[in-house]
Amino acid sequence: MADVLLTLHCAAADAEVIGEALRAALQTPVHVRAEAVLGLDFSDATTAERVTARLDRRAIELVLPEGDIPEALGILGRVRRSGAVRWYTSAVLERGRVA
């Protein structure tokens, strides 16, 4: 089964709990990146984000077999969060490690 890159965009406050839960369940490295999003949807933005119109987001990335996506989304659903999480997958064409 091919590996895919799962990218999640969540509120900064939720990044740690989501990352920990995914790593524990899927036993895969989880990358967390801070992002400023000049978004259009401010429905779940904090007041400070509404003021600056910049959403303070975290991008969480992990590579996992395509078949594990439902489990990962299930974990997301179970983890207690403060805001919505947006996700998408992209194909991983090749991967490796150079020491």
Binding site: T47, V51, T52, A53
Partner: protein, 1025 residues
Amino acid sequence: MLRELLAKALSFRFLVLAAALVVAGIGGWTFANLPIDAYPDIAPTQVKIILKAPGMTPDEVETRILAPIEQEMLGLPKQAVLRATAKYAIADITIDFIDGTDIYWARQQVSERLAGVMGDLPAGVNGGLAPISTPLSELFMFTIDGPQSLEARRTVLDWTIRPALRTVPGVADVNALGGYVRTFEVRPDPLALGAAGLTMADVKAAVESGNRNDGAGRLANGENALIVRAVGAIKTLDDLRALVLHAPGGRVLRLGDVATISNGSLTRYGAVTADGHGETVEGLVIALRGADARKVVTGVKERLAELKHNLPPGMTINVFYDRSDLIARAVGTVEEALLEATILVVVLLVVFLGDWRAAAIVATTLPMAALICFILMRGWGLTANLMSLGGLAIAIGMLVDGAVVVVENVVERLSAARAEDQSPRLHHVFRATSDVIVPVSAGLLIIALVFLPLVSLEGLEGKLFAPVALTIIFALVAALLLALTLVPVLASLGLKSGVHGEPWLMRQLAPRYSALLGAAFARQKLVYGVAGLGLAAAVVAYGAVGKTFMPQMDEGSVIAQLVKSPSIGLAHSVAGDMAAQRVLKAKVPEVDRVISRVGADELGLDPMGLNETDTFITLKPQSEWRGSKEAIIEDMRHAMALLPGISASFTQPIEMRVSEMLTGSRGDLAVKIFGPDGATLGKLAGQIEGILKATRGATEVMTVANDRVDYLQIDIDRLAAGRAGLSVDAIEDTLRGQLEGVRAGVVAEGNRRIPIVMRGAGGVEANPAAFSDTLLRGADGQTVRLSDVAHVHPVAGPVKIDHENGSRYALVQAFVSGRDLVGYVEEAKAAVQAKVPMPAGYRVVWGGQFENQQRAAARLSLVVPAALLLIFFVLLATLRSLRAALLILVNIPFAMVGGIVALWAAGQYLSVPASVGFIALLGIAVLNGLVLVSYFRQLRAEGVPMAEAVRLGAERRLRPVLMTASITAFGLVPLLFATGPGSEIQQPLAIVVIGGLVSSTLLTLVLLPILFERFGESPEERANG
């Protein structure tokens, strides 16, 4: 950083609102508890030494007291000036330290040096440092009236009222004046003394050694101990009479056998009279330096109310000066102006913005900025007074500038926000505010910068105007903070989104302005010509406007300073005072009470001679006046002219003390002639007095340099005295005992200390011939007359001798009215230089109010250009264009045109407050220029052609320019029409700013666009644009 602050404020809106409420609460509490007085503390660090030298002439005081003390005090660290005056029986030494010196440190330095020199002073000289007071310290005065004798009233004041009031927090002392201080008086009969073989010195020694209670230690009495107490103190007149002088051969000689023992009084150096009825007793409460005047007066009133029930029947305390009245009226004037200005500003905001919500949000800045300002004032140690609150009133129009710009931009942005724009509303508010952060903060920074020079002023003007500048700077800082925090928060909560229409006023003004601008561009030469004419008119007006230091502040009360013949006795001086009181009450119906104080007070804080009187005049309520206060004083002047031998000059309580504090003299102008010889000084002073009197504008000119007081000089013949067995010391002691009296201990009556005074047999006090025959008893028992051992003859001597920094000087004082002080002094100076040649070693110093004006002008001529340079740098940093920054500065002279013309048209003088007005104007003119030029540059950056950019920019910026100018001007309108105390200071300032704003706004809106089009860009920029 400011953007961060703004973002945080909008992110925590409810926290900001809560913080605003808390700050408002603290500000309100601070205002209620802010120390309050009519004026700021204007006193330098000053230490006064007052020494009483009973019976000594000014010459003796100079050589025996002033000389050693001056020698010791000159060279004290941080000393600014050392002034000293020798008068009859009084040495008054004043040491001014440089500003900022701690008063307690200064007193310690003086105290240490004084202790070192006290041992070298003649016996009988007593006194020391005066209380820590300032010219503003005399804040409560009252008379004690009733059927009781003057002695009984004085006793109540000295021993009941004074101790009670001294415990009120903030009271430094209570000066007691008038009446008689009770003594136990011993008048030995010289013949009886001679028969008994005793001298006055023997009697004095016997009285001193026969008046003591003491303990002798403990005695064992079984298991107990007895404390042994020996009682021998004199308690009654009979105790004194029973005192045994000696008992040769068992024949007891008592004091009562050779002397008359009775109740008497201390020699009087002054008296108080009231309302032409007779003498009375006066109490004067002196506050500690830095005390909260309002609290002290309240405390004093409460204590007096408690004491009222313990006074003897019929005795009343009648207050004739209560500083809290002046405080209430002065602060009330400013508070009223503040309130009226706030209402005017709010109305203008509604008119200009056409949106009551926006107006309400901007108006919130006013009370909030004021409340934050009070907190900062307390932190800085400023008191609430005429000047500091006046600063707030001046700033009121400027405080809303930042908020206006922010709210206007928010309204604009919310109107412009398209429906499809999904950015949050908070973001629109954030962007709208952050877009104007730089101009708002630069604008407020510029206005704060223009007021900074005032903080650098020195002397009296510094102490008066530094609080004004600091208050304005505090309020502007608060306004900036609010413009970037509370105002956007309120705007985000209160302003509605959607299209806001132009308000009616702008719909009327905009097309007219557009037409005016078009006409101006079409006739540019005419505009330049009009502007040039304006400048020429300003130069002419500047020459025509008189220059003075400060307008005279109306304190409500009037003081008439009466001067009589220098040799006048107390009784005749008192009679003259009462005649003056009766004339004033009869001829001037507005006069309510007249209380006169002649001579020196008990503490010696104001050591006047017997020929000098301060007459305190209280007026009836203004509703009962026939005319202005000037007219009333003129009536008083005419009334006083009816009295022969009395010359009167008029001043006010605080004004008088401030003059005395600053120059050691009274009057608008104090000319000091320094030199070594008294006669030459007198001659020069006389010549200068004549010139000052002949110069137009002088109302009262006086000098005491040529006044001579009559002395009865006793030249002791050493041979004759030695032959009679009399030493010089013994003769002088005896003579002093005859007239002044000699202290011989005290009698304790409860908490009272009654002095025992020995005097001559009496009858000689008013009889020089009898005094010359005073019997003196030598050591060998031989009795001789004074005239046998001395040459007794009348001579004339000086009334007083003045020193400054150890040099003698003669003083000529002048009061000037109906003319500017500087003009008067310049004319008089030129005349003195031409007509009075100064001998070698003599020099003239021109001081008084004039000196303050010269110092202030010199300082402002240095620091205002420095402030302009700073403003230039701020403009350069904001606009990043040398041409643009210079163009804005070019606007300044045109702003001054209206100010100086308005001043001239109003008949006001160019004083320090008017200069403060010009300084404020400078800031507003620069701010208006900045608003316009920065927008021109913005349009040019957007690619708008130059001709269109200046027209479009000017039309779009019409509203903010008109708003800031009119709000500032209308904010000052209440000060223009205020009539209470202090309004005299604020009026010239308001006239300058309002007049200047008219010319400045007109020229900003018409001339600046033309100038920018012509000079705003370099040829390269124009080519690139």
